[in-house]
């Protein structure tokens, strides 16, 4: 007997659902690292590579020929082949050259001037690339990782963006996904995705602040969580503030100690890598020294925690001021909160944690890995969108949207923190007798003057019948969809003449650019993927071989002669396979070497723990004395 299925509208997947053959994933496309995750039955998990790595460094290397590397392999190339490697490309999404910030006057990118204005382009290893294309490479790698792990095509994704990303950056992210062959189910704000992961995992209810400090962006969102509903009340932040800026401050400090020097792009990149290393070391140590090499001359630089905190203090205070703004917007005091959630790798910096705890008057929560929580939330939302769910995400417009009026002032049409989707209309009129056209300039931001805000689009409404000044009634309609993307249309009331634009021109890609890139990427996709998978397997295999050889040098005495011979044979086999072109063979050799070295690794660990324990005791003593 057939049973009748009764569903709420929208909760049933289509009968010919592609779910069985094609997966929908959640992607956190970060400034420093990216992740891909999948959820089954409300339980999300990060998809890791064969080596168990969860993070994909958001770094792309364009090596000689057509070879493109993404992730860890590209990150290692950053030091040796710096001018062929792009890192932190998210900071350039939807941005113009005026948004760029340099180190000692030099950017860690080789920027190609774009006469038309709009989004910057980069010169990398002899190619000229848009940040959208570079981001698409990262997305393709994530997609490939998902396909390799799930054993089926990945065609749809929820991609997270900083809540404070403006319309241009959101559009650029969507374009990158399209280039990578992914249909974007939804762009979800990062703090909202994090709240989703927390709320569902911990059964949280009440008011929560999500403090999300990533590599290049900062968001703070205030959410009300109750059974199944995640309602964003207010959001704020800074789309150009993150751990990268800490690195900049440290690098500037080191370079200032050397006196004035001119740096090339590669030197800037290396100085930033060193600064980042210093920052990470000082998370659990009090002091250290690092070496910077510029113009062939190496200098050593000392840094302690007090100096570090002095350097990054002003940046951290900017995040705290944004928290105060958000609470004020929502008319909420810190005591009314049920919890504060930390998201983003930069919340590992002790000063950040301390200041957040002080400001909110409570210890923040970080029981879900701050690097993973956003991707986990995105995966949950991808599952909810494709398979139905009882949870409801209600998000808001992060930045006010408005129009230029007389005298360069901004008339806000949709104020920030308005729930999405939203549509608002405002009437404008002509200011000259017989005026037949009107320029419409759409801007985004909180400032009063047009030039202090981001310009999103300009268009003209023509064919207004000649009337006396002030008689025409031009209705401008702003619509923001569930992805936070804006469409603007204008109509003259008496004639009904209408014009509408999807807000894109200033910073988005032109359609013909998009078509060309899409075509190129289809043509290269298959070769790219096979080549990339092989390259990655080789790189990982080499990494393992180097680690084993190093271990043999220090702890070779832990093996007897027969064991040693087995390890050496596995190493030789691996080297032979890496020289070939068979990815499966390389992976098999890696596995064989891992098996051959398992007992060795365990014995090394025992020895390591004994050494570490005595080391810790001395270390503690020193820090107490110091």
């Amino acid at each position: 007997m057939m049973l009748l299925d009764i569903h709420e509208p929208g909760e049933t997947p289509l009968p010919h659902s592609q779910d069985a053959e094609e997966a929908a994933v959640g992607i956190d496309l970060g400034t420093t690292n990216s992740l891909v995750a999948i959820s089954h039955g409300g339980t999300p998990e990060i998809i890791s590579d064969e080596m168990g790595q969860t993070l994909v460094p958001s770094v792309v290397a364009y090596l000689d020929g057509e070879r493109t590397l993404v992730g860890e392999a590209a990150r290692r190339a950053l030091l040796d082949d710096a001018d062929r490697v792009v890192a932190s490309v998210k900071r350039l999404m939807g941005r113009g050259i005026e948004d760029m910030k340099g180190l000692a006057g030099q950017l860690p990118y080789d920027i190609v001037p774009n006469e038309a204005g709009g989004m910057v382009k980069l010169r990398v290893g002899g190619r000229v690339l848009s940040p959208v294309e570079v981001s698409a490479e990262i997305l393709k790698a994530l997609r490939a990782r998902g396909e390799a792990a799930l054993g089926k095509p990945v065609t749809r994704a929820v991609i997270t963006v900083p809540a404070y990303f403006d319309d241009a950056a959101r559009t650029a992210t969507r374009d990158a996904a399209r280039l990578a062959g992914l249909e974007v189910l939804r762009l979800v704000n990062e703090p909202t995705a994090a709240a989703l992961a927390y709320g569902l995992d911990q059964g949280a209810e009440g008011l929560y602040a999500v403090f999300d400090l990533g590599g290049g962006t900062f968001d703070v969102s205030l959410l009300k969580l109750q059974t199944g509903v995640f309602q964003v009340l207010a959001t704020g932040g800074d789309a150009a503030l993150g751990g990268d800026d800490f690195d900049h401050a440290i690098a500037e400090h080191f370079l200032a100690q050397r006196g004035h020097v001119a740096l090339d792009v590669a030197e800037v990149k290396r100085a930033l890598v060193t600064a980042r290393l210093a920052k990470e070391c000082l998370t659990d140590r009090n002091t250290g020294s690092w070496v910077i090499e510029v113009g062939g001359e190496a200098t050593e630089h000392h840094l302690d925690v007090a100096t570090l905190e002095h350097l990054i203090g002003p940046l951290v205070e900017r995040t705290i001021a944004a928290c105060a703004d958000v609470l004020r917007d929502a008319d909420v005091s810190p005591t009314e909160l049920s919890g504060v959630v930390l998201v983003g790798g930069s919340t590992r910096v002790p000063l950040v944690r301390r200041r957040v705890a002080e400001f909110f008057g409570r210890e923040p929560l970080s029981n879900i890995d701050p690097d993973q929580v956003v991707a986990l939330g995105a995966a949950l939302q991808a599952e909810a969108l494709t398979r139905g769910s009882d949870t409801l995400l209600l998000d808001v417009v992060p930045l006010s949207l408005g129009m230029e009026t007389m005298g360069g002032l901004v008339e806000k049409v949709i104020p920030r923190n308005t729930p999405m989707p939203v549509s608002r209309a405002q009437d404008f009129t002509t200011y000259q007798d017989g005026q037949t056209a009107m320029a419409i300039h759409v801007v985004q931001g909180e400032r009063e003057l047009v030039h202090q805000n981001r310009s999103l689009a300009r268009f003209e409404l023509h064919g207004i019948p000649p009337m006396t000044a002030g008689a025409a009634r031009i209705r401008v309609n702003f619509t923001v969809d569930a992805d936070g993307l804006l469409t603007v249309s204008a109509t003259e009331a008496s004639t009904g003449i209408a014009q509408s634009v999807e807000v894109k021109p200033s910073y988005g890609l032109a359609e013909e650019d998009m078509a060309r890139m899409l075509k190129e990427s289809w043509e290269n996709a298959r070769e790219d993927m096979t080549a990339r998978l092989l390259t990655e397997a080789r790189v990982d295999a080499e990494r393992l071989a180097i680690a084993v050889q190093a271990a043999l040098v220090t702890d070779g005495d832990l093996l007897n002669i027969a064991e040693r011979a087995a390890v050496d044979a596995s190493l030789a086999h691996l080297a032979a396979m890496v020289a070939g072109v068979d990815r499966e063979a390389v992976l098999g050799a890696v596995e064989a070497l891992e098996q051959a070295t398992q007992a060795f690794a365990e014995r090394r660990m025992d020895r390591g723990i004994r050494t570490a324990l005595s080391g810790v005791a001395i270390g503690r003593l020193e820090s107490k004395l110091g």
Binding site: E8, P9, G10, E11, L14, T418, P419, V422, D481, A482
Partner: protein, 170 residues
């Protein structure tokens, strides 16, 4: 009527929220992400209308203005009309002076507290005006409410600026 709520000024906030969530649960675009394009568009429009209704009803002033509009009354001071109530203009001026004279955080807080009390009083009066069906009086009260809310908002911003300055100084 989008949220199927009774037409009343004395609307319970929890009831409004419940109706809002129920409506969004049904129509939010997230529920239609894999449906054909016409259904997605319909969901988008519905969810937009629901958000609009919620925003209007959530604010006491928005709710009052909406009820007055339904009853065919306009609020003076709105599109193109002028305010001619001297008592109101005088009161607004006094509030403004009080805020301008408040130099430290404590003084601003005092203005905020007084403004809040005045708002509470106006809301109570609005409730009885609507109960009595006196729309003319309700319209006048809404106008007062508009002025005081604007001032309370300015006071809030001022307090935040002072707090920030204090933080920066310490």
């Amino acid at each position: 009527m989008r949220l199927a709520l009774p037409r009343s000024f004395a609307l319970d906030g929890a009831l409004l929220e419940k109706a809002y969530f129920a409506a969004q649960r049904q129509f939010h675009p997230d529920r239609f992400a894999t449906r054909p394009a016409p259904e997605r568009l319909e969901a988008l429009q519905q969810a937009t209308a629901i958000n609009e209704a919620y925003e209007v009803l959530k604010s006491l002033r928005g709710r009052a203005e909406h009820l007055l509009a339904l009853a065919g009354h306009t609020v003076p001071g709105g599109n193109g009309t002028t305010v001619s109530d001297p008592a109101l203009l005088m009161e607004a001026l006094e509030w403004r002076e009080a805020l301008a004279d408040a130099e430290d955080a404590a003084a601003v807080d005092l203005v905020r507290t007084e403004a809040r009390e005045r708002i509470d009083g106006l809301v109570k009066d609005l409730g009885s005006a609507f109960d009595a069906g006196d729309h003319r009086r309700a319209a006048a009260l809404v106008l007062s409410l508009t002025y005081i809310e604007k001032l309370a908002d300015e006071a809030r911003r001022r307090a935040a600026t002072l707090a920030q300055a204090k933080r920066a100084a310490s």
